[in-house]
């Protein structure tokens, strides 16, 4: 996954022009731009069937969220 994260970070500014679209990154490469994440997931099977990990994210929509986790199940 590190190689995919590195590719994403390197491409991040360039990907701004695809705001609202889903991007697919696997094997450290940008494999495509899609209208939705499901299309990206299906295309991964075609373009990189051997990949075990991939990034699928919607540009400028998927952002880091901070959420609450109260104590109930906090036993990792």
């Amino acid at each position: 996954m590190e190689v995919n994260n590195a590719a994403y970070n390197a491409l991040r500014q360039e990907l701004d022009k695809y705001a609202g679209k889903a991007v697919l990154i696997a094997n450290g490469k940008l494999l495509g731009i899609y209208d939705n994440p499901r299309s990206a997931a299906l295309d991964l099977k075609v373009k990189a069937p051997e990949a075990h990990q991939a990034i699928i994210t919607i540009i400028n929509e998927d952002k880091r969220e901070e959420l609450e986790w109260l104590a109930g199940s906090l036993n990792l």
Partner: protein, 140 residues
């Protein structure tokens, strides 16, 4: 004040008589079922949709968010970074819905259903009956 009447569609006994539980099917974005009609604990203290163990999360690694966009949970022991991925959740009597699933970046994790998975459901936590029921509004 208008009264509202509900009827239960289905109920599940609580886990070990204490923990509310609901039946869940969870699939990858390309349609592969990973969890099939399995009864999982409900934790309303977890604000995300679903927490997964590391093993279960490994099935969703082909639709993961970048590390910079993955979630962080505020907990009593400090911020907890997660790995976050897309998945398809199916609850009984509901349409499929795309959700984010999380698994702790460090540690083995556990599997539970959180608040965001329940936003489109009407759920009864029936303490005296030690069961959890899915409801629908009853039209008089």
């Amino acid at each position: 004040m208008a009264s509202r009447v509900f009827e239960s569609l289905t109920c599940w006994p609580n886990i070990e008589h204490i923990q509310p539980a609901i039946q869940v099917t969870l699939s990858t974005l390309d349609g592969r079922r990973v969890i099939h009609n399995e009864k999982l604990p409900v934790d309303t203290g977890f604000a995300g949709a679903m927490l997964l163990s590391r093993d279960t999360f490994s099935h969703f690694e082909k639709a993961e968010l970048p590390e910079t966009e993955s979630r962080v949970y505020r907990t009593l022991i400090g911020p907890l970074p997660m790995r976050t991925a897309r998945a398809i959740l199916t609850l009984p009597f509901q349409d499929d819905v795309e959700i984010f699933v999380d698994s702790p970046r460090y540690g083995v994790g556990k599997t539970l259903v959180g608040l965001r998975a329940l936003t489109k459901t009407m759920l009864l936590l029936h303490g005296p009956g030690s069961e959890t029921c899915l409801l629908k509004k009853k039209i008089p």
